[in-house]
Symmetry: C2
């Protein structure tokens, strides 16, 4: 079995291993008496929560991080000591890890409706002395979160540092922020969605059909009746596993030995290696998970709906007060990146503080549980948590390597200070192509208003988040549709215009979103560039170098200051100011700038 | 129900509608006696084929087109008269349609192992007088095709015009070409794959598990035992339907009325609209399809394996002799486009004649059955069939609108004739960015050797296929890895270099695949362009126009002839010849071409 399969096995076995029906040794329990009323009208006479904690609550009680688990998870998110069973997110939670239990007091409760200690269908109904079974009421994510909130109250925590969750747990995190907006400084929503796609919903429907139509389901009263709906639950779990992996990950795992299945004792088909994997996963799940819990929790997931349109999503998220970190994974097709982008777009439209990264990964939905991309998403989480107190601990990394978009000798962004001078203090600024956040940091140090960066490069996004800057990973060529008209005082495009394919749309969007825009770009009219072509017959950009040549530069648009001015005239764009620089000597140029300046900075508006 | 849902309903109902257990009225039957030996060792005492034919076999018996159906299809591919039930591919097959029954004699047999007239598990075993049921032997695509071949023999057809199939039917088409290479002029493999991805395989495994573990399956001896494995078969079919649709298509169908299901009488969950759709499809399938057939055919599909690597695929396809058309659909995730590209790559590596198009579609795997993209894939099929006699009926469309890659006044590709003159007669030529095939047609008219075009634009690909040119849809920036070293005498990149992002890789690949390469590009050193920048301070490309400006040109690379020469020197590339043109006056330039020519044509080799 290859490395990835091993990893996955480990991940999925981590919450299975050995302790299937044993109580979790570190779980604490608290019972809330009196009826617990549910969103859909049901009630539970009392509720018990099983939870584990890690690290210490500080004296101010402001270092608590709540972690919400996914559908088959439990309270055992990490090991408590070296000999303890690993937790389901051991790679991310522990001393010195992304969620650092030396700094934070981590709380992880088993969810309502689950089967690992918190009240669920398998629990005894105190009013009947029998397990609830099919009589367990319909619950929603709201109900799950409501119970978590009672636990947080019980622990004496008024405001959480953050709520963190992936997948179904991410939906809980979203729900927390909308239901209890003053109860957390930050929310990290990972590999999740405002509501399932119809495709993801369809898989859940088929899984439930398989369980409910299993003759051994016995209408849900199968406790003590061997074997219970093991076949139906296994079918549902097999489907789950297909959707947790990407096609690429499945190819890596199974393509080379397609017809050499692992030997597993099972009633299911094992002709193909992928079949033996599914059979194994299906069988194991039946040993440790309760079918009624699966039906209950998958239905709660399916009913979760923060909105399917930008408008409805904005309505839902408008009330939130926290800082946000949203993370998706490129190959996740169960909670696909576009849904995270919808969340981010809605938050941006509501002027919320949000950072977003679509982490490059071939691991599919499972990526958030696997070590492969931990360097990115783990750093995003730790950086996000570290900056929630509002004091950035990190200075931005310099743009120390020549930016591929620069044609200039000096790799340092000489135009930053010139641009900053053009921005009135207190202005809100959107910086397009913000890199490692050099300009944004400069503005923040000046005490600017709302600052947001957009950047395509994943590592730059991670670097910005570490510095406490709000940055959203996006491709400028796809527009700024998530922003409202006039949402920012200024939109800046610093030395990025020449790499933009769809110039007209980007400029037009800048002028829609910003009351003014600042564009800086290399001026092809600079006399040294002119003479390179005129006298030497060479593509001008080769001359001044910056390490790139005509055949490998990231620049795809070549324009002079005069070209840009004409463009503005034609498009009805008002030019308020030119700042023209000779960056070799760092001088402002006023005499024939189209000939004497190598860098143009232009302030425009519609 | 929206338009797409209607369409889909129609498609899936077309083979269901009303005639569920009735014999197909136009099906003919032929029985072959004597044992029919199967690839995996089994045997059938005799086999019957149910098939339908459309149109007339001509006197030469060379106009027969065999159509292979997908897993749940049957022989009724099209209606026989106006009042007849529509066939499963009525949109594509009939008088004047893509597969024109006025021109071709169309044969569509029900497949071996099916349940619509051809011998399958539901048929009576003559040796026992009982249905085969679970005793029906394991069959493969080879066995299915072997029986089809006997039918073709029986009909007196030595050589088919073409074998056409989509999905499982596409695998049959692939198998035909490899098993009986001299029996067809052409093969059209649509929305198919050389072997299933592990992901697609996984869905089949889960489907079979659901059927075989259904207690009503009764070990496969459920005939006459109500209800049979209806639940398991429905679960399998629900999964099938999820995989036939793309995520986008599901969103279009179900997102707007997510919680407003259609009213259907069913035992399955109908809380969500997508659930009611799946319940309906699952139930209907059980009424018309035999579970043992589904298990038999899905296993045959899963066992099909032409190779999972370029090498093994080439070994499989090396023996084929026909012309090829390969079509995939961008949103098909069950038989994803990369698998069609693997087939095409292997065919190209074997010097087979192949055209390929990855049709833009949001319809998923179903796209090949739906009218949405018929204008593309239908025209590809009809053009492919029409040109299989080796005589092109169509002249290429002129590049009448200015190509976005051209900066020149004259939209006609003046360099074609100059390039053609540089190519020795009989040479094999690969034309990168071939457009509507202008250069390739010119070369074909001169009696050139093997000619292949590569083009990104779908409509251009369709136009080329209509003219009988072999063209492969691909992005040059992704390289030419499917071609062997020195596979072509000449590789041509005509006025496309300036739109290529990764110049170094493309040139290097050209020189690997071709013994020589010809590159033509606009020369930025042309005196009018120089003066535009030097004297007027304007981006030179604005001046000469061609309808594009600095901000909307498709050109992203700007170079002079001198730049290109230096590039060649640095890369160790030998320059054999320059042909430099002033395209305004259509003159050859020998005096200072870097100043006086606006178009450079360079012959190079490694």
């Amino acid at each position: 079995m290859d490395k990835n399969a091993e990893q996955s096995k480990q991940v999925f076995d981590s919450s299975d291993s050995g302790r299937n029906s044993r109580p979790l040794p570190f779980a604490q329990h608290v019972t809330f008496d009196g009826p617990f009323h549910l969103e859909c009208g049901g009630r539970l006479p009392s509720v018990t929560v099983a939870y584990e904690t890690f690290g210490k609550l500080n004296a101010q009680a402001d270092n608590a991080v709540l972690i919400c688990h996914a559908i088959s998870g439990d309270s055992h998110v990490a090991r408590h000591h070296e000999d303890d069973d690993p937790g389901w997110w051991d790679i991310a939670v522990g001393p010195g890890k992304s969620i650092d239990t030396d700094r934070y007091f981590v709380i992880c409760p088993n969810v309502l409706g689950g089967c690992r200690g918190t009240t669920g269908p398998i629990s005894i109904n105190p009013e009947t002395g029998q397990p609830y079974g099919p009589d367990f009421p319909l619950i929603t994510i709201d109900d799950i979160v409501n119970l978590q909130r009672r636990l947080v109250d019980h622990l004496g925590i008024v405001k959480l540092r953050a709520v963190v969750g992936g997948s179904l747990g991410g939906q809980m995190a979203l729900d927390w922020a909308t239901r209890y907006p003053d109860r957390m400084a930050g929310t990290a929503a990972i590999a999740t969605s405002p509501r399932l796609t119809s495709q993801a919903l369809a898989f859940d429907v088929v899984g439930r059909n398989a369980i409910l139509q299993d003759p051994d389901y016995l209408g849900g009263r199968y406790y003590g009746q061997w074997p219970g709906p093991r076949v139906g639950l296994a079918i549902a779990r097999m489907l789950g596993h297909i959707t947790y992996l990407s096609r690429e990950a499945m190819m890596q795992k199974f393509d080379s030995d397609r017809l050499r299945p692992r030997e597993v004792a099972t009633q299911f088909e094992t002709k193909f290696s992928v079949g033996s994997y599914l059979a194994y996963q299906g069988d194991r799940f039946g040993e440790r998970f309760d079918a009624n819990s699966y039906v209950t929790l998958s239905m709660a997931m399916d009913l979760f709906d923060l909105g399917g349109t930008p408008e409805t999503l904005q309505q839902s998220l408008q009330v939130t007060q926290c800082d946000w970190l949203v993370v998706s994974y490129t190959s996740d097709w169960l909670f696909p990146p576009f849904q995270s982008q919808m969340i981010v777009d809605a938050l941006l439209a509501c002027n919320k503080r949000v950072s977003y990264c679509n982490v490059e990964s071939s691991c599919g939905h499972d990526a958030f549980l696997l070590p492969d991309e931990l360097a990115s998403y783990g750093t995003l989480i730790s950086g996000f948590l570290a900056n929630l107190d509002g004091v950035s601990q990190e200075n931005p990394l310099p743009d120390s390597t020549p930016k591929p978009t620069s044609i200039f000798h000096d790799p340092h962004r000489l135009d930053y200070s010139s641009i900053a001078e053009l921005i009135p203090e207190g202005s809100s600024v959107l910086d397009l192509g913000c890199g490692n956040g050099g300009l944004l940091s400069l503005l923040r140090d000046r005490g600017q208003g709302r600052l947001v960066g957009i950047e395509l490069d994943e590592q730059c996004v991670v670097n910005c988040v570490r510095c406490g800057l709000n940055v959203v990973q996006a491709d400028l060529n796809e527009g700024l549709s998530s922003y409202a008209d006039g949402q920012f005082d200024l939109v800046v495009l610093s030395q990025t215009l020449q790499t933009v394919i769809d110039v007209k749309t980007v400029i037009s969007e800048m002028l829609r979103v910003g009351r003014r825009a600042i564009v800086s770009f290399p001026n092809l009219g600079y006399y040294k560039l002119r003479s390179e072509l005129a006298e030497h017959g060479r593509a001008p950009l080769v001359a001044l170098g910056g390490g790139t040549r005509w055949y490998d530069t990231h620049n795809v648009r070549f324009l002079t200051l005069a070209d840009f001015d004409e463009f503005c005239r034609e498009q009805g764009i008002t030019i308020h100011k030119h700042v023209c620089l000779d960056t070799e000597t760092n001088r402002r140029i006023t005499d024939d700038p189209n000939r004497n300046a190598d860098l143009a900075i232009v302030v425009i508006s519609r």
